[in-house]
């Protein structure tokens, strides 16, 4: 594994390096106080950034493998390319910024931190995200999502911008918020009722919702070089869980 140090920026050529070795290397480097790590030639190594508890910047060039940033606790990972499945799995703190698309189950079971995806995402984005006290995960998706976004969502904020849809084009996802029992989804653009899960209600945005959008759409726009004002002038709807325990009576006997 080639590496050299330049102004505390460490570079790793990940060609042919196994995921275990790569993540062990990242752990070593962050414990030595490195502030920035560049990973080149990444082809599918899993769990990049897992278990790291330091505020280090990790730049990924290539295609990181599944469960990028799983259990991560503080770093910022920037992906120059697309992310695969399970990005941000059970993440606790930190930031993942994807300059491309992401696969299925983005941010599953996340309990904190932020994920920004420039383009579309696959199935079940934000599945079973949760929140407690001041820990509140935020996922912002620039494109549209495939089915079941916000499935079984228990907390956190999921923002779906649909920037690649035309004015008349509906979002693609069906079963939005199926089983949702906490948190909130903000959706920009058009959807039909049949696209919504049975467990969500639709509401107009209030002032505090606009403040939330201002903040996180602002961050999203800054990451990808967009203008937040242009994004925010379009109509948003707010989806909320209608019940705290949607299946409470289903399994009780």
């Amino acid at each position: 594994m080639a590496q050299k140090e330049t102004n505390r920026v460490m570079k790793i050529d990940a060609s042919g390096v196994s995921y275990r070795e790569l993540n062990a290397r990242l752990r070593d480097m962050t414990s030595n106080g490195t502030s920035k790590i560049e990973l080149r030639n990444v082809y599918g190594q899993r769990y990049i950034g897992t278990d790291l508890g330091k505020p280090v910047n990790i730049e990924v060039f290539g295609t990181p493998g599944n469960d990028l940033g799983a259990f991560m606790d503080g770093p910022r990972i920037t992906v120059h390319g697309n992310a695969q499945d399970g990005c941000g799995n059970t993440m606790n703190e930190g930031e993942i910024i994807v300059h491309g698309h992401a696969g299925d189950i983005l941010g599953l079971s996340a309990r904190g931190g932020r994920i920004f995806v420039r383009d579309d995402v696959g199935y079940r984005a934000g599945i079973h995200m949760k929140e407690y006290g001041n820990k509140k995960p935020v996922v912002v998706i620039g494109g549209t999502a495939q089915d079941f976004p916000g499935e079984y969502m228990a907390g956190g904020i999921l923002i779906l911008l649909g920037l690649n849809l035309t004015e008349e084009e509906r979002h693609k996802a069906k079963f939005i918020g199926t089983g949702m029992h906490g948190g909130v989804i903000y959706l920009r653009g058009i959807i039909e009722d049949y696209q919504l899960g049975k467990e969500v209600g639709v509401a107009e945005l209030e002032e505090k919702d606009y403040q939330i959008l201002q903040k996180f759409v602002g961050e999203f726009a800054a990451h990808f070089g967009y203008k937040a004002k242009g994004i925010l002038k379009h109509n948003f709807i707010k989806l909320f869980p209608r019940w705290l325990r949607p299946y409470g009576r289903l399994f009780a006997y």
């Binding site: 082809y43 599944n66 697309n82 695969q84 698309h101 995402v121 693609k172």
Partner: protein, 383 residues
């Protein structure tokens, strides 16, 4: 099939990353290329499998014998081989036969003998039967009646190579880097509820149809009973086998286009059908009514291939992954995008199709990126 050498995990590893790996690559202009790329690509997804099965299907493989059925047979005993060879001699014209070349490869344990036979049907078939049906029936006959042998590849100008081991080990064992084809599929196996053994590795095939599969077909029993009514016999102890026979029935025997066959295997939900225009509604209802027993239930991604076509398909709620890549005339299908990028870093386009949406590559048709996509450039209304 009797006395199959069922082998449980010989590696005694305790890995729990459970998934299979799939990869397919096709030059839609028909150019033939070596297996070097796909071997690297499938090896890049090593952690998805556990060494209990790997395999490849190659099309455009035997131009010299393109008019003959290439039967590939695994033998578990000498007697099995004698019996099958006597059977083949009696029922086909034999153009050429040889043991499939192999090399000593670490990780390949107790391989069966693998032979290939290039066969003509000639005068042997009854007049009213097609050559394909004659060959398919003989394959079923060998696999159900003769012991210690099974046919795992039976198409023209194509073949399956498979066995126990990681796919890159199987590729090394069968010297696959030396072959050329215009369409390749590959599989790394992580068996879940059927045993890992040589015959249970993917791809599964009948005639020139092959299937590689990630997931499990919960509807196996229903599908199998339905297919048995048409003479198919499931002998390989793996759910994937029904997919190969289902596409053979739907496309070869019943003449349905592959896009329609995909709607049988992964039909839209009833409430989606209700929102379709009347004509399409009628078609989709009819398909669900006529072919209800061929609906594949459970999580799956499959790559189906035959001469001239490669099809990627997932279940309707996409419980297993599939990524598509396009570069000029080349179409790539993979469980993970990283494996495609490894062998083609400058793709024109990579996207993830919707669950149940078939991705079809055809000879002579440049692959068209689908309008419904992931990864579309963000348009100007961002400003």
């Amino acid at each position: 099939m009797r006395d199959i050498g069922q082998v449980n995990n010989p590696y005694h590893d305790d890995k729990v990353i459970d998934a299979c790996s799939l990869f397919g690559v096709m030059d839609t202009s028909g150019g033939r290329f070596s297996g070097e790329g796909i071997i690297r690509a499938i090896a890049n997804m090593h952690v998805r499998g556990n060494g209990l099965g790997g395999g490849f299907a190659i099309y455009g493989l035997y131009p010299k014998y393109a008019d003959f059925y290439a039967l590939h047979v695994m033998y578990l005993s000498r007697e099995g081989q004698r019996e099958v060879e006597a059977f083949l001699k009696d029922r086909f014209d034999l153009a050429y036969a040889e043991e499939v070349p192999t090399r000593l490869t670490s990780g390949i344990i107790q391989p069966p003998a693998v032979w290939r036979y290039f066969l003509g049907v000639g005068r042997h078939k009854p007049e009213e039967q097609s050559e394909d049906n004659y060959v398919a029936d003989r394959v079923m006959e060998i696999n159900t009646r003769l012991g210690d042998a099974f046919v795992f590849s039976s198409g023209k100008d194509m073949a399956v190579f498979k066995g126990m081991g990681y796919p890159e080990e199987i590729a090394a064992y069968f010297c696959l880097e030396q072959y050329q084809g215009y369409l390749w599929t590959a599989h790394g196996r992580f068996p879940t509820n059927t045993p890992g053994w040589w015959g249970g590795a993917h791809p599964f095939g009948l005639l020139d149809w092959t299937v590689v599969h990630n997931g499990e077909i919960s509807s196996y029993g229903i599908n199998r009973r339905y297919l048995e009514q048409f003479g198919y016999r499931c002998t390989l102890q793996t759910d994937t086998e029904v997919v190969a026979y289902a596409v053979d029935l739907l496309v070869r025997k019943h003449g349905l286009p592959i896009e329609i066959a995909a709607r049988v295997l992964a039909p839209p939900f009833w409430n989606d059908i209700e929102r379709c225009p009347p004509g399409e509604q009628k078609l989709l209802r009819t398909l669900r009514q006529v072919y209800g027993s061929l609906l594949l239930n459970g999580p799956f991604t499959v790559i189906i291939a035959h001469h001239g076509e490669m099809i990627g398909l997932t279940d309707r709620v996409r419980l297993r992954p599939l990524t598509v890549g396009v570069k000029g005339d080349m179409l790539y299908l993979s469980s993970e995008e990283s494996a495609i990028r490894l062998i083609c870093p400058d793709l024109d386009r990579a996207w993830i199709p919707m669950g149940g949406e078939p991705i079809v590559g055809r000879l002579g048709t440049s692959p068209q990126p689908q309008p419904v996509t992931i990864g579309e450039e963000v348009t100007s209304d961002a400003n």
